[in-house]
């Protein structure tokens, strides 16, 4: 499986964010997207996720499920965590598992892995920022998708949480998954670096 982009141009609000960007990632590989604030790291992830339309160039996934598009095979973990404060932790996760479909893991099992099994029935509105992030990570575990697009994934996670997440990423890569992460802090695992714009 290979994710590649050729000559990708991103224009937002009439301003060219980056142009002529080439990148490549193969199964079992992590790409760390680095660059200063506003250089277009989030935009790149949203382009890959199909949430922005490139002004030029192509992004393609070769060797995946031919029936599905790239966004349908991807998990996007953004700044906003797609949780409903009125629903409980388990309800939030179960909804995304049902809605996203496909091969899935048991909800309680993934909550145990991210360390939220004690808060299953708590409304998501009462969670701390770090717990919300853990719940978002549980979504990536529950529904199996080969491509993970992560935007500042370790934000708000404590040290133990970062270690846990590093382990999850390693497992994902070992199963032939692929990670593209926008980050300012090192991912903690060997990764290919993709720099956008000038040096930070």
């Amino acid at each position: 499986m290979q994710l590649s982009g050729h000559g990708v141009i991103c224009v937002r609000g009439g301003r060219e964010v980056f142009a002529g960007l080439d990148f490549e990632a193969v199964s079992g590989e992590a790409v760390a997207v680095v660059g200063r604030n506003g250089s277009g790291k989030t935009s790149l992830l949203r382009l890959i996720a199909g949430l922005l339309i490139p002004a030029g160039g192509t992004i393609a996934l070769a060797g995946g499920d031919a029936e599905l598009t790239l966004p349908e095979q991807s998990h996007y973990l953004g700044h906003r965590d797609a949780l409903k404060p009125a629903l409980s932790v388990a309800e939030n996760l179960a909804f995304w598992a049902d809605f996203l479909g496909g091969e899935r893991r048991d909800v309680t099992e993934s909550l145990a892995i991210v360390g939220l099994d004690h808060a299953t029935h708590l409304p998501a509105g009462f969670l701390s920022a770090g717990q919300r992030r853990r719940l978002s990570l549980a979504r990536l575990l529950t529904v199996r998708r080969p491509v993970w697009l992560l935007d500042e994934p370790t934000t708000a996670l404590d040290v133990a949480g970062q270690d846990m997440f590093e382990g999850l990423m390693r497992d994902h890569l070992a199963r032939g998954g692929l990670i593209v992460a926008a980050t300012h802090t090192p991912l903690g695992l060997e990764s290919r670096e993709l720099r956008i714009g000038g040096t930070a």
């Binding site: 953004g78 797609a82 009125a86 909804f95 995304w96 809605f99």
Partner: protein
């Protein structure tokens, strides 16, 4: 199918929880209709002639009240991104959300109608007629209103803009809804003709609404 029923169940559950929109709509409907007899005065004949129009206006405003949040809430917390990326076509997801909104916010209005009919001096038959026209007509309000809700997300302006966009679209529904109810109470028209048109408006909105809303959301990807 699991995906759509999951979406419908989630939206209904959120609407019924504390802070959800379901109760607010009914309370607003109740307030508008209860205030009306005080404003019009104790003329019973006048009240029963105005009754269907008051009930319809109340239901229209009550269903618009919570509609602007239909996509906005999902947009703000990032859920809309994941819904757009998913294997479920966006048109179907829009239709499911509108259906959930109608079940949670529209259906309670119809259930409340018989009680409010009493306050407006409407007899059993007239109240039944109004409830029936609301049952046939309010889905059209939700499904056309959904287009405005999607545009509000695209343009980053909620509330008032949505009312300005959606109200003109709901005028035909209002005209034929009230006409059908009046036909039962004062005649001389038949109930069938305006009621059929009302049903047709709902059916058209089922087709047009989801496609227009999904197109608007896709265009506004940001």
């Amino acid at each position: 199918m699991t995906a759509l029923s999951a979406l419908i169940r989630r939206d209904i559950r959120i609407a019924l929880r504390v802070g959800g929109g379901a109760l607010i709509g009914v309370l607003f409907f109740l307030t508008v209709v209860v205030l009306m007899p005080f404003a019009v005065g104790p003329d019973l004949a006048l009240l029963s002639r105005l009754g269907p129009a008051i009930l319809w206006l109340g239901a229209l405003l009550a269903s618009l009240l919570t509609l602007d949040r239909l996509f906005m809430a999902d947009h703000e917390d990032g859920s809309l991104d994941l819904i757009t990326m998913s294997r479920t076509p966006l048109e179907l997801a829009c239709a499911a959300k509108a259906l959930a909104h109608w079940l949670a916010a529209g259906l309670p209005l119809i259930v409340a109608t018989p009680v409010l009919g009493l306050l407006l001096n409407l007899d059993m038959v007239a109240t039944g007629a109004v409830a029936l026209t609301l049952l046939a007509g309010t889905p059209a309000l939700t499904f056309t209103g959904m287009i405005g809700a999607a545009l509000a997300v695209t343009l980053h302006r909620g509330g008032l803009l949505m009312a300005v966009l959606v109200l003109p679209l709901s005028i035909p529904v209002l005209i034929f809804g009230v006409a059908a109810s009046q036909a039962v109470i004062v005649g001389p028209m038949t109930f069938g003709a305006p009621f059929s048109i009302l049903c047709a408006l709902s059916l058209v909105s089922f087709v047009v609404g989801p496609f227009a809303a999904a197109a608007s959301l896709k265009h506004g990807l940001d």
